[in-house]
Amino acid sequence: MLQAVIADSHWAIILILLPLAAAVLCFLYARAANIIGVMTLSALVLSVAALGWQIRETGVYHHAIGGWEAPLGIGLYADGLSLLMLTITAVAGLGISIYATSYFKQQDAARFWPLWLLLLASLNALYLSADIFNLYITLELVGLAAVALAALTGGRDALAGAMRYLLATLLGSLAYLLGVALLYHGFGSVDIAILATQAEPVPVLWVAFGLMGAGLALKMALVPLHFWLPATHASAAAPVSALLSALVIKGAFYILLRLWLEIFAPHSGGAETLLGLLGSAAVIWGSLQALRQTRLKLLIAYSTVAQLGYLFIAFPLSTMAGAAVWSAAGYLALSHALAKAAMFLAAGNLMRFGGHDRIADLDRVVQRLPLTAGAFALAGVSIIGLPPSGGFVGKWLLLEAALTQGRWELVVVIILGSLLAAAYVFKVLGRAFTQAPVCQKARAVPARMEWAALLLACGAILLGFLAPFILPLMDIGDPFSASGVQP
């Protein structure tokens, strides 16, 4: 009975409508926003689990809204890759939401929850969209909600960061939309499945990919288009920084990956080499910048720039060993989301505690905030890629692919990135043991904020043990098969 209900329900629609309705409710009943928000996130985690069970039992989910099939209607589609991204969003989102219930004062909470739930609805819709125009709409919705969240705290830095972010994200969306226009003109459809069969290696395809790729790279802050990210992510409120760094960035990556796998990979013409080069540059340059920072939140933001580079290193490796490499990239995205959310939340605790985020003046936080220091350390283990963390599994699979293919330059980049990550994580942890020259007065940090950060970090470590369960789930519907072995 229960199984029949789960198998027949439209979980994908619930995943979009539930946060949308909850956003409106939070706006209307601001007093109950915390409760509505956490209940919605809990329900979403269960819905994602149900969707996962459904597509594991019955194969990929496809639904034409209102009975209108492509090319006219809006299609929803869920396979293993969508499921992975939905899981990342729901799980990391739940942790950040629990944190936010203690972090925001009543007045700020009333503004945070509607925006965050709108962001959640747009992200879920993005991961479930089956056509490239609908992806543009959801991408724009994600961008607008994210910008409003970044500006939430007000103040000069946050507003300037949000403005810079808005201009970057609008420019990225417009470049993407121009690519959509060209693809529609060239191949007569916006449906990804139809485009996949129609696409031919003609100039319009390459121009469209150039535009879409550049637009999405700007939204993902791929070096050299990362200028907006560090200031924006560092100046936002702690839960917002965590949302932006852990979840929002992944939305653009998902679109790029989906388009690449379905449409562009067979006609790439060497674009994967360029993406790999930029990714390598991001890993090295982002890590070096992170190492130079004196402020904790900027360090974590540059670490995001670096860790995103790893996702692009998968592109050149995927031509020889498609599915394995993309599983590695998916796993990295998953563990990065949890670890980076934990890091930003821990940084938020430290800022609440000491009133600043200067690394040099951390002043014995290991003794004074042991849970937060532990959360940062465990998240650091996953970011560096030490066993037994989720980051280790992802980086190990990537490294294995690079070794078997004899791509030594990528091997060097992967290892060097990990060493630099170790350097900047230990730079912070080392200061956490030392005493600051001036003793500072400290504010109490609510236990819930400490535990939320710690649990997310533990999740990132736990992923290292869950790989045998999660990797097969990613393969439902063969999302990675298109970029298999090329002749």
């Binding site: 607008l144 507003l159 300037a160 403005m163 810079r164 529609y184 560092a234």
Partner: protein, 101 residues
């Protein structure tokens, strides 16, 4: 004029807007530049929707343009509010040059 030249004009608007977005410091000009780029994309969509001869134009790109206008209105509204807030905070409607240390 053929629809192709309209599409080229759309590309021209896109490039013009991109140039203005990069060179101008004032935020209102940047926001206008984004809007001009959006109009350029719309023009490309509408121009390429035309089918040869007397055939009715393809309606799908028209629907996309209308959706795009809705998105552009909301994005512009948000950008203008942010600009005003920033101007009230810093006294000038430009992005502060210095990144936080």
């Amino acid at each position: 004029m053929s629809s192709f030249s309209f599409a080229l004009a759309g590309i021209g608007l896109f490039v013009l807007g991109l140039h203005a977005l990069i060179v101008h410091a004032h935020l209102l000009r940047k926001i206008l530049a984004i809007n001009i780029m959006g109009s350029g994309v719309s023009l490309v969509l509408v121009a390429l929707a035309r089918r040869g001869g007397d055939a009715l134009p393809d309606a799908v790109p028209h629907a996309m343009v209308i959706t795009g206008i809705v998105v552009a209105v909301s994005a512009t509204a948000l950008a203008l509010v942010l600009m005003l807030k920033l101007a009230a905070e810093t006294g000038s409607a430009t992005l502060p040059d210095d990144s936080p240390e």
